[in-house]
Symmetry: C2
Subunit: 253 residues, 2 copies
DNA sequence: CGGGACCTTGATTCATATCAAAGGGTGTGG
DNA sequence: CCACACCCTTTGATATGAATCAAGGTCCCG
């Protein structure tokens, strides 16, 4: 788990994909990670109906958001990787409508409302970067709908593998077309709206076609071009409008 | 189309579901609707890749957000009904990642960045209500993923019918368990991740079971209890935390 | 009254689910 | 350090929900 002591490196790295941060910003982010907590894999970090006690900042490890139907069917709605905030704006609500569970062992910081508000107030660059990342998350969710609704099992699976690669690359956790992601086939199935058996067969297809290699918990993309073509994946190029920068500061709420 | 001259009644009604507005707030909203434009059904209001020229406010009629895959497959990602803003925060981006098309004839106001920012600055109640409604939209999108991923065709279809009923009711466009919504079966199919033929058969099932009645463009929910049970629908009860009110004003960006 | 878009129906195919059982890894306790 | 246990993956057989194809019917609009 603790390969790195500098546990906020991922947020910093992630937010710097939007625009450079000053060292004061980085210190503020480091401050958010100071008070962190370990949770073992498979534990729920938030439960549907909870009053969100604070925004979760992922420091190490992976988590996912999901919803259950009454009869046990489950749908995973997105993944959290190091550097991600779980819905920075959701603490406005009294109740959340989904659950979050740890996929692996995780290290998370639970940032209380007031602390986050203070950081956002004092560090507009962080606020903007966070805003940008929230918009990216929404765009990803829309693409998720497209995948499940209109992509075949093969395309869908390929698409998820591409998405994870790009997100992990953005925080330095993917290199050379490969990354570690400790997911089971059942969890993939619940993400993709498929059965576990079919995910198994779909992964075999991807392997047989030499598009990916996959051993236990790690993925290697052998042919990035063909894989992303198959997935109908397009590297998400949402940028913040330049014009936006100065005046969005007034879009308060 | 123009049954009503007061074309901003729906936004006002919608936002008042969150908290009462003062008359100054209502005047501001009326101001946003002053400069509106008619578009015929089936026209695109925004296209993927556009630089969003302004936030769209739906005044009359219906629209939907969608994405296409290269080969013509299409997924509808959500509907806009009178009173809805299409992504109030999206104008922060330089490009949008989806398209919006008119489902029926529509009357929309295109609110320029600056005008919206000014209203939000001067009317914190509006800003808060809009924030709340954006969070509701996100929750709806998550539920949409659950539907497509894990509900059967029958449940999914029933769920969409319930969702539309509740949203239209919130702006006074549904009464007595019935509403007008001029959607084709192909459009339903593209929303639900199904084929048009299968939607046809699914609707017949719902009709045969006396759960709904449906003539051309109008839906009647004959048995609300059984329909929402079948749909695994739960009336979305996201409320803003009271504690939140005073200080979210500092969550600027 | 004609035409086009939409809905409906039936027949068939196909993708994916389900069921069931065997095989492989991996971590834990003895 | 081994062995067992458990979880995960793999495989095969079968079932089924939904897609596709194709044709006819209906409604509405001009």
């Amino acid at each position: 788990m603790h390969r790195d002591l500098n546990v906020t490196q991922y947020v910093i790295r992630k937010l710097e994909n939007y625009a450079p941060l000053e060292s004061s910003d980085k210190e503020a982010l480091e401050g958010l990670g100071r008070d962190c907590k370990f949770h073992p894999a498979h534990v729920d970090l938030m439960l549907e109906g909870d009053d969100p006690r604070g925004v979760i900042l992922m420091l190490e490890g992976f988590a996912y958001r999901y919803k259950n139907l009454d009869d046990g069917r489950r749908q995973i709605i997105g993944y959290f990787v190091p550097g991600d905030f779980c819905d920075p704006h959701v603490f406005v609500l009294r109740k959340i409508d989904y659950s979050v569970a740890a996929l692996s062992n995780v290290l998370v910081a639970r940032v209380p409302r007031g602390k986050l508000v203070k950081v956002l107030d004092e560090h507009p660059r962080i606020a903007r970067a966070l805003w940008w990342s929230a918009l990216m998350d929404e765009a990803n969710l829309r693409e998720w709908v497209v995948s499940i609704g209109r992509r075949t099992a093969l395309e869908r699976t390929a698409h998820l593998i591409c998405e994870l690669y790009h997100r992990l690359q953005a925080v330095g956790l993917a290199r050379d077309n490969s990354y570690e992601f400790p997911i089971t086939q059942q969890e993939l199935a619940d993400s993709l709206g498929l059965s576990a058996v079919h995910v198994n067969r779909t992964l075999q297809l991807l392997r047989n076609q030499k598009l990916i290699a996959q051993r236990s918990r790690s993925f290697v993309i052998l042919d990035p071009v063909r894989l992303s073509e198959l997935a109908l994946f397009q590297k998400n190029s949402l940028h913040i409008s330049d014009e936006g920068h100065p005046s969005i500061s007034s879009m308060r709420i």
